[in-house]
């Protein structure tokens, strides 16, 4: 499904701000894998996701999606394979456009656009049904501009948009971090539901250890641009936050960030 072979990325190379964000990272995902990614600030979690999404080109290494080499492929071309939800609820939608328009754009992710009218009536019906399933009363707000919705509503719609056309890979970059705990919980539940219903191959970054253990069938812990821990299936299912911290210290993790502990 997704195959990452020894990718490295250094930002601001040759300056005082030089920062090696990824060091020779390799990762292979099977179809239907739901991997949670944790790690402290600057561990390289978001960098890994952005490298896969093509926000920047990696310095070395290869990235394959379904055996297609996408290493040199531009971000907008990779979008045909990838659905994304960002940390900032403002990021995933066009705020000045209507809910319906945002969904119509998402329904055409990765397709060649034409001068046909931007959305069809039968699509509107489908959008309405899918919005109703979110249980947020959004089906009555198809004509509302995104900017008038709350952060949680926007994230829920972004999630729906990312999966409206089934992506080969779903990338979730701390998509609940900016929400209040109750809303975050709701969006996480939705995430679980959508991922399971569509059997999506998912990579979810979180700073919350409990969520990282609760969701998915595999867990990666990054530290300083490297994969420190890679825990699968049964082993992951039995793990507690305490075990995770212990494993982290044993494998040479320097300091556990306060943020990770508190979550």
């Amino acid at each position: 499904m997704l195959k990452v072979e020894g990718i490295s990325k250094t930002f601001f190379a040759g300056t005082v701000n030089e920062k090696t964000a990824l060091k020779n990272v390799s990762l292979e995902m099977k179809p239907g894998d739901f991997i949670t990614v944790i790690g402290g600030n600057g561990a390289g979690k978001s960098t890994l996701l952005n490298a896969v999404a093509g926000v920047f080109k990696v310095d070395s290494g290869k990235i394959y999606i379904d055996d297609v080499d996408v290493t040199q492929m531009a971000e907008h071309k990779r979008a045909a394979y990838i659905g994304r939800v960002f940390q900032d609820p403002m990021m995933g939608t066009a705020s000045g456009m209507m809910v319906e328009e945002n969904l119509a754009i998402a329904a055409r992710r990765g397709k060649t656009l034409s001068l046909r009218w931007g959305f069809r009536d039968d699509e509107s019906v489908e959008f309405k049904e899918k919005l109703a399933k979110l249980n947020l009363g959004l089906e009555d707000r198809m004509k509302s501009r995104m900017v008038t919705l709350s952060g949680g509503q926007r994230q829920a719609i972004t999630l729906l948009m990312a999966t409206l056309r089934r992506p080969k890979l779903l990338l979730l970059d701390e998509h609940t971090a900016a929400l209040d705990p109750k809303t975050a919980e709701k969006v996480l539940d939705l995430t679980k539901k959508i991922v399971e219903e569509n059997a999506l191959t998912t990579l979810m970054v979180t700073h919350n250890m409990r969520d990282a253990l609760r969701f998915g069938n595999r867990l990666l812990m990054l530290n300083d641009g490297e994969i420190l821990l890679d825990i699968h299936g049964e082993e992951k299912a039995k793990m507690t936050v305490h075990d995770l911290l212990e494993a982290f210290e044993k494998s040479g993790g320097e300091d556990v960030s306060d943020r990770m502990l508190l979550s």
Binding site: K77, A79, M90, A94, G96, A104, L113, L115, G118
Partner: protein
């Protein structure tokens, strides 16, 4: 007096084509494009040069529009391919166009008094000159927003709007944002040049300096329209631009009628736009003060 009102509204209609161009970049793409200061006289220059050569007025206007689109493409390529900031890219194009416009006309001013124009070709309607301009302006100021409404409702048009709204999001949806910025700038400058061609024919001359202040007049029209006529949805916004352009001309006519020296017009317009741009902030401050009381 009636003639004055008709002439003012007609002017507003002709200028509204330019304002729609500014609306595309300033509101839809969310960039300030100064190339319009050059593409407006470019449209005038191309049309005047062709009309002086006895070319059909409609053809001349189309040619002016194409020239404007080319100018927009230059700004667009500077911005997207060479990563020059939009403001700077526009300034470079604007300055370059000054020389281009002089070359097109061969001199700084080209009279159209003894040539056929789009307005003289409508003389068969047997209307007064002002009413003729009004009718022509009305046709154009209805046709172009209708076309824009269609275009921005298509798949590509929606992608252009989303690009101005949130480039990151639309890239994640598989759209090449560079292409969308380029397309928007081409379209915008094409409209501005068409407006320049119309205004030159209405004035009876094209002048290399006729573009000075285009962007501010465009912004004034867009903002006045938004404040007075609203921005509920895209359709409403488009109509607001046309009505804003007319209202701007009426405001100008009134202050001139009240005795303001014409030389102070640009200063007045700049102050008007500054006030309009700061309105949201002033309103927010005022509202929060009212809540405090």
């Amino acid at each position: 007096m009636d003639e004055l009102i008709i002439s003012t509204v007609a002017q507003g209609l002709l200028w509204s084509v330019m304002a729609m161009g500014v609306f595309i970049t300033f509101r839809t793409l969310n960039i300030a494009d100064l190339s319009v200061e050059g593409s407006f006289p470019l449209g005038g220059a191309v049309a005047a040069m062709l009309l002086a050569e006895k070319v059909n007025p409609a053809t001349a206007i189309v040619a002016a529009g194409l020239a404007g689109m080319l100018a927009g493409a230059v700004s667009g390529l500077l911005y997207t391919k060479l990563k020059i900031p939009a403001l700077m890219a526009g300034i470079l194009t604007m300055i370059a166009l000054y020389s281009v416009n002089l070359r097109v006309m061969g001199k700084a001013n080209l009279s159209l008094l003894n040539t056929d124009t789009i307005f003289t070709s409508l003389e068969f309607l047997k209307l007064s000159p002002n009413l003729t301009t009004f009718v022509a302006g009305l046709c154009i100021a209805v046709a172009i927003p209708l076309w824009l409404y269609w275009f921005f409702g298509t798949e590509i048009g929606m992608a252009v709007r989303a690009t101005g709204n949130n480039p990151q999001m639309i890239r994640a949806m598989g759209v090449n944002t560079d292409d969308m910025f380029l397309l928007g700038l081409v379209l915008s400058n094409g409209l501005v040049a068409v407006s320049g061609a119309l205004i030159a024919q209405d004035n009876g001359f094209a002048d290399v300096g006729m573009g000075a202040g285009t962007i501010v007049i465009g912004l004034a029209s867009v903002i006045i329209g938004e404040v007075v006529f609203g921005t509920r949805n895209f359709k409403n916004s488009l109509i607001s631009v046309v009505l804003g352009s007319i209202l701007y001309r009426i405001v100008i006519a009134i202050v001139l009628y009240l005795g303001m020296p014409p030389n102070d017009l640009k200063l007045f317009t700049a102050i008007l736009v500054a006030i309009a741009l700061s309105l949201p902030l002033v309103k927010a401050k005022w509202d929060s003060r009212m809540v405090g009381m």
